[in-house]
Symmetry: C2
Subunit: 246 residues, 2 copies
C-alpha cells in the first residue's frame, strides 16, 4: 500500500543551540517509531548521514530493525536505540513526555505468516500519547478497532491523529487492487456504522486529524463528497508538511 | 552519502501489450541491481505493490537482500529473483542482452567490518554491458579504478554511464563532512591526474555520462567551472529523469 503520509516523524522544535552544527546536521534529536512496517521504518534509511539522534521504539520494533542489517547504516556511535516499555512515560524532549500504548492491529505485512490476526494487542502496533504541562495529544496511525480502553484514554484530548487508511472497508477490492479489506489489513475505515467517524461521535476531543491515508481513499480528492463528509463530522484530512500548534 | 541519482533502474520500454493492465501496474518487467548498498536497493521497497517483475542481480547481491526480511515485501509469487553469473550474457528484454562484470570496489557501507578493502573484485560491485544487434552501452555507477581489463572492455562503446561520485578525492573531508576520501569509499574522483576524466582520455567511447554524483560534487551546480571542465572534456553530467536514445 502507498500511503499519503508514509514517513511521519515527530520532529521536535527546540532551541537551535541544542544541536550540533554542520552542513548536514538536521534540527532533530529524537525519532519515535510506532510500527515496524515499511512505511514507518524505511525513512530511517535516509537519516544515515552520521546524524546524531535517539531512536525510540518498543523492543518488538527494535527487534524487527535488528533483524535487518540494512538498518545498521544508522551508525551505533551516533544513533542510540532506546527500547520503550508500553505504558511507561518517558521524556522525548525537554518538557514533552511520551507514552506508548498498545492498540488493536497486526504484525508488519512482510512478517505475516499463513494466517494473520488483526486484533492483536502487542508491542508492534502502538499509539503515542504526547503530554506537556497543559496539553495532551495522540498519534495513532494504525488501529483495527476503537475499543473501550482506547475510548477512555482519548477522552478529553486536545488533539488526535488517527488511522485514515480507507474510506470503505472493501474500497481496494472494488477498485480491483487486490483481495484485502481494511479489516484484513488491521485498519478501521472511516465510513459506515462500524467506521471511525461514527465511533468517535460524542468523544470530547479538541481537534481530530486523519493521517496515513491510502491512495484509494477518496478524501484525498479536494472536491470529493467524502472529504466534505469527514470535515462536516469535525475531522481534518492530514497533508504532507502540515504543522499544528497547540 | 546522498547521491544525485539514488535509484537508477533500467526500465525497459517494450510494447505496452506485453504488460498486465491495472490501476497500479507499471510498464516494468525487469529490475537489475548492480550493488547491495542502500542507494541501489532501497528503491525496491517502493515496488512492493504486487507489481510483477524479475529482479536480476548477482548471487552476492541477492544474498544481501535475503539477509534483510524487509525485502520479503517483494512478494515471491509475483517477483522472481534471478541470480546472474558474472560474464554470462542474459536476455534482459527481447533484443537486449546484458552482461554483468566485476569492477574494483568494496562491500556495502553497512556490511563494512573494521578494515575495508576498496580494490575488491567480486560480485558485490559490478558493471553492466547492454547490447543490441548494433549498439553497446555500459552502466558503471561505482568504480575504484579504471584498470586495463576495464579499459579494453569499454573501448568502442556507444554509451557509458560512469561513477561520478566526487570531483576531488578529499572533497568531503575539506567540506567538514567526515574523514572519508573517495578512495576509501571505493570511488575514483573526476579531477586530477588519477581522476576519471584523465583516465578516459584517448578511449573511443561515443557518449560519456557521469552518474551517482554525491551532493558535495561541484559539477551539480549549473554554473560551476568544474561542470564546464567536465563538459569540455566530453562528459555529460547526468540528471534525474534523463532519457538517452541510441
Amino acid at each position: 500500500m502507498l500511503n499519503a503520509s508514509p514517513d511521519i516523524r515527530l520532529q521536535l522544535s527546540q532551541a537551535q543551540s541544542l544541536f550540533p552544527t554542520g552542513l548536514r546536521q538536521l534540527p532533530l534529536t529524537s525519532v519515535l517509531v510506532t510500527n515496524g512496517d515499511i512505511d514507518h521504518v524505511a525513512g530511517l534509511l535516509t537519516l544515515r548521514e552520521m546524524q546524531p539522534f535517539t531512536l525510540f521504539a518498543t523492543q518488538g520494533i527494535h527487534d524487527v530493525l535488528a533483524q535487518n542489517p540494512i538498518f545498521d547504516a544508522l551508525n551505533a556511535s551516533v544513533v542510540a536505540r532506546e527500547a520503550i516499555a508500553l505504558e511507561m512515560p518517558f521524556e522525548l524532549a525537554p518538557g514533552l513526555t511520551a507514552t506508548l500504548f498498545p492498540v488493536p492491529g497486526k504484525v508488519p505485512l512482510y512478517l505475516e505468516g499463513e494466517s494473520v490476526k488483526t486484533d492483536m494487542i502487542g508491542d508492534q502496533t502502538v499509539g503515542v500519547e504526547l503530554k506537556t504541562d497543559s496539553q495532551r495529544a495522540y498519534y495513532i496511525p494504525g488501529c483495527a478497532l476503537l475499543n473501550d480502553d482506547l475510548r477512555t484514554r482519548l477522552q478529553g484530548a486536545d488533539l488526535l491523529f488517527f488511522d485514515g487508511t480507507l474510506w470503505e472497508d472493501d474500497e481496494m477490492v472494488r477498485a480491483g487492487l487486490g483481495q484485502k479489506t481494511g479489516k484484513r489489513m488491521g485498519h478501521m475505515s472511516m465510513n459506515g456504522p462500524d467506521g471511525s467517524i461514527a465511533a468517535f461521535v460524542g468523544l470530547d476531543i479538541g481537534r481530530r486529524v486523519f493521517v496515513h491515508m491510502n491512495n484509494t481513499n477518496p478524501v484525498l480528492r479536494p472536491d470529493s463528497s467524502e472529504k466534505a463528509q469527514a470535515e462536516t463530522a469535525g475531522w481534518t484530512i492530514g497533508q504532507d508538511g502540515m504543522e499544528i500548534s497547540l
